[in-house]
């Protein structure tokens, strides 16, 4: 029946900024027709700290701590992107051992981030146990980080020209032990979810992104690959020691929430493969190159460096004016770009799907707002 005849009113509700399933301080203004979403408008900025401006006021090494706090779920990925950009700007190269260590840590961070994503995504859809199982394994990764650099979340372990220090004694064995238990753990989540009727019904066909749309919106990471676009920065523009690693890039076919879920599960397995390869071939030698105390990149230097973070393409754009602070510092946040897709995805879905959609694009508000 025509809605205008019945004089039904659309209900406008605020999902967030304080809401159990918006993963931080995202606010989504929803217009509802009954249970159906007419429009969804994300409101961001509650966590804005001016990281880019800070990046122009502090010297290059001082900015690393801010990159920790942008995507705090995958701090190492942020560190790595920024440091590699600075290295390129200054023409410094880290020794090979440090390059391999970066790969190991970045992939551990990817697994940790995906585990957190899986746990919270499942929790949003009501599967409580998966959340705690994921945290059990994530805890082991955080312990590995802690024994490496003392910090669990905000690592700040990368330095311009190498790493903070070498892996401590026994660390490599501990890391291998973790890699041994990981496949069984991932299998456990899959038994709980992949073949679970309710999970499949909640995720299949929800939030479909076509390949063309994904490219137009500038999506990256699992949301892009879920639509079948084969683009992974690690393969397309290898950095650190990724050129020597052998791994597969999982691709989706339908571009729905279920495909993106499968991709992230497979990425965890692939990350494990990369870690084991890197540990096997870990070269000897120094972990830190000789670097001047005060970094002064040549004036007029300009660099845009991208890496494949757990959430997608992380970029840093730096312009140097010859001093020890950047003249322009810009962070490309994958979460911010991916969040653009939410209003389009939510249209026509039910209110229960919005939590699945927020979960599937996997945003971290620190990363969105910067």
């Amino acid at each position: 029946m025509d809605a205008t005849l019945l004089h039904t009113q659309e209900l406008e509700i605020n999902l967030g900024p304080q809401h159990p399933s918006t993963h931080g301080v995202l606010r989504v203004v929803l217009k509802l027709d009954g249970e159906r979403i007419v429009s969804a408008r994300p409101v961001i900025g509650y966590l804005h700290r001016g990281c880019e401006k800070l990046g122009e006021c502090r010297s290059y090494p001082q900015v690393v701590v801010y990159t920790d706090r942008m995507d705090y779920v995958a701090a190492f990925a942020g560190n790595l992107t920024y440091i590699e950009a600075v290295e390129r700007l200054c023409g410094i190269e880290a020794p090979p051992r440090a390059q391999y260590m970066r790969v190991v840590l970045a992939e551990l961070q990817r697994i940790a981030s995906h585990l957190l994503w899986l746990g919270t995504h499942a929790l949003d859809l009501g599967a409580m146990s998966v959340f705690l199982y994921c945290f059990r394994e994530r805890e082991m990764i955080l312990d590995l980080f802690e024994s490496y650099c003392g910090a669990r979340l905000t690592l700040n372990a990368v330095r311009v020209g190498g790493q903070l220090n070498d892996f401590p004694e026994g660390w490599v064995e501990e890391c291998r032990k973790f890699c041994e238990i990981l496949p069984a753990a991932v299998q456990e989540y899959e038994t709980l979810l992949s073949v679970n009727r309710i999970w499949v019904e909640r995720t299949k066909g929800v939030g479909v992104i076509s390949a063309a749309d994904a490219i137009d919106w500038g999506l990256s990471g699992p949301p892009l690959r879920g639509s079948g676009v084969d683009y992974d920065v690690r393969k397309a523009m290898p950095y650190a020691a990724y050129a020597e690693m052998d791994f597969d890039v999982p691709l989706g076919t339908h571009g729905d929430t279920y495909d993106r879920y499968l991709i992230r599960m497979e990425e965890m397995r692939q990350s494990r493969r990369v870690i084991l390869q890197a540990l096997d071939r870990l070269p000897g030698g120094d972990v830190r190159a000789k670097v001047p105390k005060r970094l002064r990149p040549p004036a007029g230097g300009e660099v845009y460096h991208v890496t494949e973070g757990p959430r997608g393409e992380q970029g840093v754009y730096l312009v140097s004016d010859g001093s020890d602070t950047a003249w322009r510092c810009r962070f490309r946040s994958p979460c911010f770009v991916n969040l653009q897709a939410l209003p389009e995805l939510a249209k026509g879905h039910l209110v229960a799907d919005i939590v699945a959609l927020i979960g599937t694009i996997d945003i971290v508000l620190g990363c969105v707002d910067r």
Binding site: L11, I13, H19, P20, S21, L32, E35, A122, L123, D124, L125, G126, A127, M128, S129, L132, Y133, R136, L192, L193, N196, I198, W199, E201, R202, L350, V351, A352, D353, I354, V355
Partner: protein, 365 residues
């Protein structure tokens, strides 16, 4: 006079208080069982192994400030939790907890205390009728809060409970056909005389009833009216303190009633679990029904009364455990999927179940 008024009052008092205690410890059981399934420990701080946790929880809820939103409909806001709780409590009236009545000699008269508050001959219909009233509490609570999330929660519960009411009732018709009576005590007696408990021929009815009942009691994976990740807390978002406690109490009371109904209708109520050994020797069920009397020669109705109570409690516990197991395992259904299951699957299946059962019974006769 004493038999007609005082005895029922005492019975009601005992049942009510025991059930409150059971609810309190059901919450602890839930937390412990789910913690165990989720590689956690659960509450451990209050008392040994957290055994006093429910007491602490109740105290907290009682002394908590009871906030009524400024623009809420105060009367309805206050009434809604009571409306939700009352049917849950009233349903205990017809559930038989054990089989043997007790008899006391007081002032020269013999008082007969039955292990059920009353045994009306329309017991099952009474249960169905009363259980469908609980939804009003949720709907009114959601509406009276004058807030958006509770409103959505209330709407959901209205739609959900109305759709699941139909298969819920139909799934029990098969049992009625077998038992030939709607009295709860009569149904257990019918199972005692039948060669099997009714879950054997009515396994489909049992499954449908359990699924519908989980939906009816708003438990996972059908806990849409209070889906916390979507609707914050659903219909009770604005409730706090004792009013919230009443909703909470109603939910757990309903769980226990449903478990009691399943135990009574499908699993022989207070009858002992024999795993079919009764076919080998009729002595085995007799011993299991009254071990104290049969093995140790302790006479009197007290011992079979207690044994029946224990068997009933075991069955109720198993069903409750199932409830908790579901909650720890499954994601939540979506609103439209929930409706689809109710109308497209459960309703036709329960109708078919009634038809097939009726035809089979007629043919055997």
């Amino acid at each position: 006079m004493i038999q007609k008024v005082l005895v029922p009052l005492v019975q009601i008092g005992i049942v009510l208080n025991v059930m409150l205690l059971v609810v309190a410890y059901l919450t602890l059981l839930e937390r412990k069982v789910i913690a165990f399934m989720q590689v956690r420990l659960g509450p451990r701080r209050v008392g040994p192994h957290g055994l006093l946790q429910p007491i602490a929880d109740i105290l907290k809820l009682m002394i908590k400030e009871d906030i009524t939103p400024a623009r809420a409909d105060r009367l309805v806001f206050w009434l809604a939790p009571c409306i939700a709780l009352a049917p849950a409590v009233v349903m205990f009236a017809v559930i038989p907890f054990s089989g043997t009545p007790l008899e006391f000699q007081v002032f020269g008269t013999t008082l007969r205390v039955t292990p059920w508050i009353t045994d009306v001959n329309v017991g099952l219909l009474y249960l169905l009728a009363v259980s469908s009233l609980g939804v009003f509490g949720l709907v009114l609570g959601g509406w009276a809060s004058n807030s958006k999330y509770p409103l959505l929660g209330g709407l959901r519960s209205a739609a959900q409970m109305v759709s699941y009411e139909v298969p819920l009732g139909l799934s029990l018709v098969g049992v009625l056909l077998f038992a030939g009576t709607a009295s709860m005590v009569g149904i257990v007696h019918a199972q005692q005389n039948a060669p099997f408990w009714f879950f054997v021929p009515q396994i489909l009815g049992l499954v449908i009833y359990f699924i519908s009942a989980v939906a009816e009691t708003n438990r996972a994976p059908f806990d849409l009216p209070e889906a916390e990740t979507e609707l914050v807390a659903g219909f009770h978002t604005e409730y706090s303190g004792m009013k919230f406690a009443l909703f909470f109490l109603a939910e757990y009371m309903n769980m226990i009633v449903v478990s009691g109904i399943i135990a009574t209708l499908f699993f022989g109520g207070w009858l002992p679990i024999t795993f079919g050994l009764g076919y080998l020797s009729p002595r085995i069920p007799e011993v299991l029904a009254n071990p104290a009397g049969e093995l140790f020669g302790l006479a009197g109705p007290f011992w079979p009364f207690v044994t029946g109570l224990v068997w009933f409690a075991i069955k109720v516990f198993v069903v409750l455990f199932f409830y908790l197991w579901l909650r720890a395992t499954f994601p939540r259904y979506r609103y439209d999927q929930l409706m689809r299951i109710g109308w497209k699957w459960l309703l036709p299946l329960s109708l078919a179940n009634v038809m097939v059962t009726a035809v089979l019974i007629e043919m055997v006769r």
